[in-house]
Symmetry: C2
Subunit: 140 residues, 2 copies
């Protein structure tokens, strides 16, 4: 389970499992899809949490290192993250009108990328593909 994964990471690193970190993690696990730091901070605040913005920003790198969340493409000025959960890797289509995000995964695409990396003698570790356009509803 995700929380155990975080506990393990924290103790391995000699860090501490604080109430703040727990609240932040819970909020992320409870939410859907992508999130932004400020958004996360606000929703915690709204629920009566006393966590500070600083703690939110300081906790995010830990969650990334523990493999619970990932940074995704930035479509505007600030950072976006998403849970990793059991989810396999996937890419995104983003509607330029309504902002809808479609997640998709294509083994063929993954394979093709490996080939392209080989051709360039590049050791690909991870990738982000973001397709911008219009979703069915906005394309009318």
């Amino acid at each position: 389970m995700e929380k155990q994964k975080f506990r393990d990471y924290v103790s391995t690193k000699g860090l501490k499992l604080t109430k703040e970190r727990d609240e932040i993690l819970n909020e992320i696990l409870a939410a859907e899809g992508h999130f932004e730091p400020e958004e996360l901070f606000i929703s915690l605040k709204t629920k009566g949490s006393k966590v500070s913005r600083a703690s939110v920003y300081r906790t995010i790198p830990l969650l990334i290192e523990s493999g619970l969340i990932e940074e995704v493409e930035r479509i505007d000025k600030h950072s976006h993250y998403e849970k990793v959960l059991g989810k396999q890797h996937h890419d995104h289509m983003i509607c330029m009108r309504c902002g809808k995000v479609i997640e998709f995964f294509s083994p063929t695409l993954e394979m093709l990328q490996s080939e392209l990396c080989q051709k360039e003698n590049f050791n690909g570790v991870r990738h982000n593909l973001e397709i911008l356009g219009y979703c069915d509803k906005c394309n009318l």
Copy 2:
């Protein structure tokens, strides 16, 4: 030629072709690869130009709208752009150690993406693929 394209855009929009805009455009056309606003400002400054940072930031959107440059993936906190010139679309592999950027293009990849979009009823307009990893030199 690129400069004509910009002149056309400017006059069509009822804007003015100023010395500052011209200097900025020249600097971009003269430079190689990607650039960042601050970098551009500094190199203009170094060459004795009196263009202000504000004008650099104000000119970039115009260059994008006129189709001369594009915004590329953000690998860190600030914005990155690159010339479009006659260059065809391409994607990037970015070395996480030395920062080297390899540009590549794959028709197969493009085609595959169109298929994926169709499958999702998504009208894809453009995309960004960024593969992170290690280049041959850094992979030793």
